[in-house]
């Protein structure tokens, strides 16, 4: 595949997810302005922080008069899961030139991670020659960045006209349902997902959303232990095909 084809494929796979991203961006924009942030700060937060849940937390804590130090602490704990994404993609993009590493790191969000890792996993058996899969990552990341910033702008400008009755916030978990399913290729992966899900519900009341990160660790550990107890890793393909 040429660079351009990889790039376009990344864009195309990222696009459907924007059905979840756009309402979230609008909700963020509306809430940030309602909670007293200046429209400029609310908008630029989507470029400077570029992490939806952390941006929402900043807006809400600023409105509640939280100190910058506590807000910083909260947001860096909330975002610690990005270290896992970085570790997961590091082996694939760590050898690229620095400008690529900086650009891809900046674009590494939940949704861009999903598309990027999906491409690396599906081509793991037979990597394309030459390997231009980082263009796929770039296409996905830039698509998300553009839609996130545009939807923030929409939310900032339209203020309070968005009705909570539409249930648009529900599109976010639905997006991750769609992403979860292809990652359930084999038994240990399903165990990882099951334990991750149960742990995140059990730990939901842990302050600072630290439970989310712990739940991911629990899921990863459970998958690995299951694999070990069930007799070591199978060759990466799953025998029943790709259906979960």
């Amino acid at each position: 595949m040429t660079r351009w084809n990889e790039f376009l494929l990344g864009v195309r796979r990222e696009l459907p997810m924007q059905l979840g991203v756009v309402p979230f961006g609008m909700i963020y924009g509306v809430l940030a302005v309602q909670s007293g942030m200046s429209p400029l700060a609310a908008q630029l937060s989507s470029s400077i922080v570029f992490a939806g849940s952390a941006q929402l937390v900043i807006a809400q804590m600023l409105a509640a008069g939280g100190s910058p130090f506590v807000i910083l602490l909260t947001a860096i704990i909330l975002n610690v899961r990005h270290v896992l994404y970085s570790a997961s993609l590091g082996p694939h993009v760590g050898r690229l030139p620095r400008r690529w590493r900086l650009a891809l790191a900046y674009l590494l969000t939940d949704e861009a991670y999903a598309v990027a890792i999906g491409r690396y996993v599906e081509t793991a058996e037979k990597p394309p020659q030459p390997d231009e899969r980082h263009w796929h990552f770039l296409g996905a990341g830039l698509t998300l960045w553009s839609f996130w910033n545009a939807s923030t702008l929409l939310g900032v400008t339209m203020g309070a006209q968005l009705s909570p009755a539409w249930g648009l916030d529900f599109a976010i978990p639905l997006t991750f349902v769609a992403l979860l399913v292809p990652s359930l290729g084999d038994g240990p992966s399903r165990v990882a997902a099951l334990f991750g899900a149960v742990a995140s519900v059990v730990l939901v009341a842990v302050p600072l959303k630290l439970g989310l990160f712990c739940a991911m660790l629990v899921g990863i550990a459970a998958g690995a232990m299951w694999e070990v107890f069930m007799g070591g890793p199978k060759p990466s393909a799953n025998p029943e095909g790709t259906r979960a």
């Binding site: 459907p16 997810m17 059905l19 200046s38 630029l44 937060s45 400077i48 952390a54 600023l62 910058p68 910083l72 947001a75 860096i76 975002n79 610690v80 270290v83 970085s86 570790a87 997961s88 590091g90 082996p91 694939h92 993009v93 760590g94 050898r95 790191a105 900046y106 590494l108 999903a114 890792i117 249930g167 529900f170 599109a171 978990p173 639905l174 997006t175 991750f176 349902v177 769609a178 992403l179 979860l180 399913v181 990652s183 992966s189 990882a192 997902a193 099951l194 334990f195 991750g196 899900a197 742990a199 995140s200 939901v204 989310l212 991911m216 899921g219 990863i220 459970a222 998958g223 694999e227």
Partner: protein
């Protein structure tokens, strides 16, 4: 520069540092840590564990309590979306079926 901007730049820098951490040192780490088969095996479980942990509380926890009503619109809509995702593997169809199911159930149950 007031506290708001300072906070934004500090959180932005911290988030970027997270995202860059293993990417920047990836080629060095790969020789030692990330290239280790055991670590590779662990990293294979990041996607299922992460996505499941992001989904579950949003569907079964409301206002800090577990949803116990089996006819809860979000619960039913999530099930519809899950079945759709298993059958079609399409993000677009999963999202639309889930949102349509949410409003259909709300309409039928008068929620």
């Amino acid at each position: 520069m007031n506290g708001t901007w300072l906070t934004l730049f500090a959180v932005g820098a911290a988030t970027f540092a997270y995202r860059l951490s293993c990417i920047e040192f990836g080629s060095n780490l790969e020789a030692s840590v990330l290239g280790n088969p055991r670590v590779k095996r662990l990293l294979r479980f990041v996607p299922p564990a992460a996505f499941a942990a992001l989904v579950a509380p949003a569907i079964v926890v409301r206002d800090g309590a577990l949803v116990t009503n089996p006819l809860d619109p979000r619960l039913l809509a999530a099930l519809v979306a899950l079945v759709c995702a298993l059958a079609t593997r399409s993000v677009l169809l999963t999202l639309t079926s889930g949102m349509l199911a949410l409003h259909a159930v709300r309409f039928l149950l008068g929620g």
